[in-house]
Symmetry: C2
Subunit: 754 residues, 2 copies
């Protein structure tokens, strides 16, 4: 992330020098402190956070120190370690178990680090601001509870009483309190705001289930000749069981088994189940999704509005410090102050670059940056700036004569030129298919040939495009990693034959070789669009991964406290006969579906196994078999754990995830219908108009032009700093950017209406 706030003493001197030499006339130079404050606001705007620091220089310095990568990452690592302690604490992953005093010491250290960060925050923020933030208090409470819990546990275990570490499920909540977990917090806030609406629907749904359960009980209870379930359990014999079976039926996990005894008795009874499923599954579950989608859309818009407002508030504050009043009473930002600000924000960059940014932002006529233009500075700073000379292939720089020779040009045409390159690409794609066929047929003989071919392809691309350009393409990067990793493993395998007996390495090699097939998908235009959408979702998927992780962690810890050690996997025997049940070390499992399906490995004995079980529960199928297994070894009440998990994770979180993907697709679709110039933000448009963007087609033009005039490139475009180019993101890559663009378009429309 862009946390390059490396504002050190030595740098500051050079900034002052720069200021003094640069500003010979015009507005008076700003003080160091004001500049630092403005730079802090700009950085906050870029990071999308709101530093509640006091305005005095000491607090500002402390706040910048607070955002220093070293401090920032230390606290994040501490939270990470704290969360991953569960791997080592009892019930631990067997091979890496640690004694409790070791984990306790580490935990104490982590809590101390996190606490010190909170204290750091307390120093630079005003007392009022400190407590106003909604996450401070829970943060502090969790830390205190953890300490209390640790002390209690040590005391109790010294006395010899086994106790429960009740603070452990709270640990993932610390993730939510972290500074940059804004999106994670947003999703949780979204879930909380959706709750009231969804609870109405869910209550109605649960009442329906209860109603149908009563009906089923009354219809089937006293019926003679009704057979039992195929696993021997009695059919609909008491209310709680019937309710649970019908609840499971909504998840479809026990269909049609739950219907079969009634079906065998009388075919018309199937109508009961069909009506039930239509009402409770198809209708209610669709309504759940609709309700969640509805709420999600609203709250997403609010979130984006808040983000934009926060960013603008920060930039407004920075602008208020930097502005100069002109003759006409307008408040504008002159170039001298812009340069000083940029030197403070990005001390490592060249003045040329700052100047380029100025050219993009400033108004041509007035020669100043207005407030509305300044509001784009956060986005502008996030666009990568490249030097043109970086874009020349290394070979061109190293052996210019050889590179521009006739033979070389022919090679370059073959690889890069649109017409020839197609055949080159087809040839490679064909080789990939042939390779996959060989793998499928277990033909190992040609492997080295294919390997050589792919290595040759990569080297050729290096030569033609140069390293930088090669690695800019995600697909090339992907190819490169696959080939190099495969090469390394192959070589190692040759060197030490012992490795070839180790299956892990061979499996990995196989996966690497098969993954090459993915590039074929990329070769087809229609597929590429779908893949691009998926990859644009990618980053936000991580947020949802985070949300799921928090839920998984909490449920895993509770599950481990309740169920660990109750089910013990038996050694795997290949010669087990069919249908020979396994009791998973617990005779209570005798006769259950859990034992018959050999689910012993689905247990809560350590955090990794717990996560697998929770994933299985999330996929829903057979979750009742798992639930009944754990009920058999504990108590009927264990069903509540599984039902609550289903309601929270499957119905709530997964539907919010679906809502997110739906909304994203609708956004991309709406965006794609907008005209191109509206899809670009204002600064992107300016950059394009000024010819300062890095154009993909330039390379091929270069190749053509080279033949007539090798030096024409520099002067070909009217850019003012031809040695540098902006690398504009093609297609909105980040979901947030997409959303903000959408929002800005809407706002512009509102304005134009007025």
């Amino acid at each position: 992330m862009s946390t390059e706030m490396s504002y050190t003493e030595t740098r500051r001197d050079s900034v002052c020098e720069g200021l003094n030499t640069d500003v010979t006339e015009g507005p008076p130079p700003l003080s160091d402190e004001d500049l630092r404050l403005a730079a802090t606001y700009v950085n906050d705007a870029r990071n999308g956070c709101r530093g509640n620091f006091k305005n005095d220089p000491k607090s500002v310095r402390l706040y910048n120190l607070y955002n220093h990568p070293a401090f920032f990452w230390t606290s994040h690592v501490a939270v990470g370690v704290l969360i991953s302690l569960v791997l080592f604490e009892d019930p631990a992953v067997p091979s890496i178990r640690l004694d409790y005093w070791i984990t306790m010491c580490v935990e104490l250290l982590c809590v101390g680090l996190i606490f010190s960060r909170l204290a750091h925050q307390g120093v630079f923020s005003s007392e009022e601001n400190f407590w106003r933030s909604k996450r401070r208090l829970p943060f502090l409470i969790i830390l205190l509870l953890t300490l209390v819990d640790m002390v209690l546990y040590v005391i109790l275990s010294e006395i010899g009483v086994t106790s429960v570490r009740f603070s452990r499920p709270l640990r993932p909540l610390l993730l939510l309190c972290m500074d940059r977990a804004k999106q994670l917090r947003a999703v949780f806030k979204n879930i909380l705001l959706t709750l009231p609406d969804i609870i109405t629907v869910l209550t109605l749904f649960l009442l329906s289930v209860a109603f149908f359960a009563l009906m089923a009980l009354k219809i089937f209870q006293n019926r003679r000749n009704l057979v039992n379930y195929s696993d021997g359990q009695p059919y609909m014999h008491n209310y709680l069981d019937t309710f649970f079976h019908l609840y499971v039926l909504v998840t479809t996990a026990n269909f049609p088994d739950v219907m079969m005894p009634a079906f065998d008795y009388n075919a018309w009874f199937t109508l009961f189940f069909i009506i039930y499923l239509i009402i409770c599954l198809y209708l209610f579950m669709s309504i759940c999704l609709a309700t969640i989608y509805n709420n999600f859309k609203e709250h997403l818009k609010e979130y984006v509005e808040d983000s934009v407002r926060e960013k603008q508030d920060n930039l407004q504050l920075a602008f208020d410090i930097l502005k100069v009043e002109t003759g006409h009473g307008e408040k504008l930002l002159p170039k001298s102050r812009w340069m000083s600000l940029m030197r403070t924000v990005h001390p490592s960059r060249l003045d040329l670059e700052h100047s380029l940014l100025w050219d993009v932002l400033a108004n041509k006529h007035t020669g100043y940056i207005s407030k509305s233009e300044f509001f784009h500075v956060a986005n502008l700073l996030d666009i990568q700036v490249l030097e043109v000379k970086d874009r020349e292939p290394e070979f061109q720089r190293w052996f210019p004569r050889c590179y521009t020779s006739k033979a070389s040009r022919l090679i370059r045409k073959t690889v890069a030129n649109s017409c020839f390159s197609r055949f080159f690409r087809y040839f490679i794609d064909l080789a990939v298919v042939a390779n996959a066929v060989c793998i499928a047929l277990d033909e190992e003989d040609f492997e080295w040939f294919f390997m050589a071919l792919f290595v040759f392809e990569i080297l050729l691309k290096f030569y033609v495009f140069g390293l930088k350009k090669f690695f800019h393409s995600a697909m090339n990067m992907f190819d490169f990693v696959l080939i190099v990793a495969a090469l390394v493993i192959n070589v190692l395998e040759l060197a030490w034959t012992s490795i070839s007996n180790q299956t892990g390495a061979l499996d990995f090699l196989l996966v690497l070789r098969l993954l090459r097939l993915v590039r074929l998908v990329y070769a087809i235009e229609r597929f590429r669009i779908v893949l691009k959408t998926i990859s644009s979702i990618g980053r936000s998927l991580l947020t949802y991964g985070g949300v799921l992780f928090v839920f998984f962690y909490i449920f895993a810890i509770i599950g481990m406290e309740a169920f660990s050690g109750k089910i013990i996997p038996e050694p795997v025997l290949a010669n087990r006969t069919q249908n020979q049940p396994i009791l998973c070390g617990n005779p209570k499992l005798n006769g259950t579906q859990f034992a018959m399906n050999r689910y012993c490995n689905n247990n809560f004995n350590d955090i990794l196994h717990s996560f697998v079980v929770l994933f299985e529960l999330m996929v829903v199928n057979q979750w009742h078999v798992l639930a009944e297994g754990f009920v058999a070894v504990t108590h009927q009440a264990a069903r509540i754990y599984f039902i609550v998990y289903h309601l929270l994770v499957v119905i709530l979180v997964l539907n919010i995830f679906s809502a997110f993907i739906l909304e994203l697709f609708m956004l991309e679709y709406t965006m794609s219908k907008e005209p191109a110039e509206r899809r670009e933000s204002i600064i992107e448009r300016r950059i394009t108009v000024m010819g300062l963007d890095e154009d993909e087609s330039t390379y091929l033009n270069d190749l053509e032009n080279e033949e007539t005039d090798t030096n024409i490139r520099g002067g070909r475009r009217p850019g003012q700093s031809p040695a540098m180019r902006f690398r504009l993101p093609r297609g909105a890559n980040k979901v947030e950017e997409l959303l903000q663009k959408m929002y800005e378009i809407e706002r512009e429309e509102d304005k134009s209406d007025v």
Copy 2:
């Protein structure tokens, strides 16, 4: 439906009389033929269809005859009978099997009737129009194919060769060709239009599955010590099986069983399955839904636009016939022609009513109906008109003195007045709960008491509200049906004790008694909103039910041809021991999960059983067990049938259904945010402004006012025809109306922008 086109000879005379007596001055009266043509256009606008009839009087008369209920329903019944023939044809439902010559005769009759309707159409439409409609040709082809098929079948079966009735799967397509199946056709068109986009995603998805299958095969194939599945099948041993297992995994139906052998071998192999599910289930299936939703939304808008345009085209044609040019060159509709038109459209209604409609539509200043006002006539005619005297309770009319007595007023206040009635309602709701508790506890003693109470409640409501008002509420109707049915069964049970031994009647009684609980849900405001939304979906659900029926029917016929008689249910024995497999009359099923789960009743032996199996396949869970069962008794290729079914019905149709519900919720939500006066259409606004709507609160006001002046009601409102009231739909009840309103709002916005 509003197909009251009872345009007969006798009526026409009266219309002419009306015309002649009414129009003494003003524009010249229209000829009968012109009036009839205009009325036909108005009716077409109301029915949302486009009669491609020629303009000459004979064709118009034929077209009206074509729309006559008798002809209309005959052809619909013929299609219905043709479709339901499958119940009697081999393989028939056992108890109602008919010989093939009987079904053949019925089929021939039906085909003849349908064909004659097509011929009827051919007579009144111009040749060009007849063939331009996209559904004529397929309609004709299906009928011809049916005839060819019948002839072939008869010949072959007389020779003794068993053949396949290949035209049977085509039968439900006739439903699509019916005149009023517009919505059904729209959904199918939507499916067709969505196909190209979804096919890209699905191909990519299938390629991913194929890719993962290759990977799984290579990883697990040659691994020793890897156990078999718990049912003894070898684990990932050939490509086709692996592909199928992974395809099933996307439907989650075999999770976690498909993972367990690998999990037992090495816990890290779970990662393979988790990554697979994240990519192919959570990502691709969400993208499928998003793609379908995206397309659906677009096409729905087009459909509504087309409908509105068609309606306006029809009304435009009618207006062109009726219009009179005024002095200013404006084209307007005078009252005399309006009355003539209405008498032709609705010969059975009173002139007073036509006059009321005129008051609503016509411009106060000009005294004419303009074209844009005329465009609302179709909607206006669909609003129910009530006579005020209908709204008086019967008792008031029959015994006015008794009804307005003091004791009677007290009763009426208790039942209807807002303050007292709440306690009355609470009391009845409490009784319903108590009744349910009694049922749950099998306390039969109080049943007669509860029954008496509920009957008393209904009688009381009859007295207070009157029959008409009572039955206008869907909830009252529901109560009434439940109580009366229960009463009838109870009385019959008393009369013939033999019935009490028949379980069917008792089950029905039980269900009736439990259904009373539904009214409790209606008592809570938040629940009522959800229920109202569901009931507003109701009608459109039927359309989707129709779509599913078409798919079910086609797949059922194919399934019966392929699988009927292969699986024979065994007699049910209550004393079967656990795990004793049943072979369903086919030794090939030995050892399959199908037999172990006792799925013998899930067969394709007749259409009803086929539908149950297809429903089970739609619910998805255990579908692989069903599929493997049918594969075991036939051939591996049978898997294709089940995969195609899953792709078409579950992924395509069910997602379109979800898209529909999502869109509907979004619409209702957007509508609810609009201000009230925009939610109403223009005519609804006019009716409200003119005080002509039937106000729910009127009744209670009446009760209050009655005490001071019994005759005040008539003059209380400024309505011009106080003896009649419009019954405005509260909340848009029909989805189409909602959509059209949305569309009209959007169009108005567009106009106001310009």
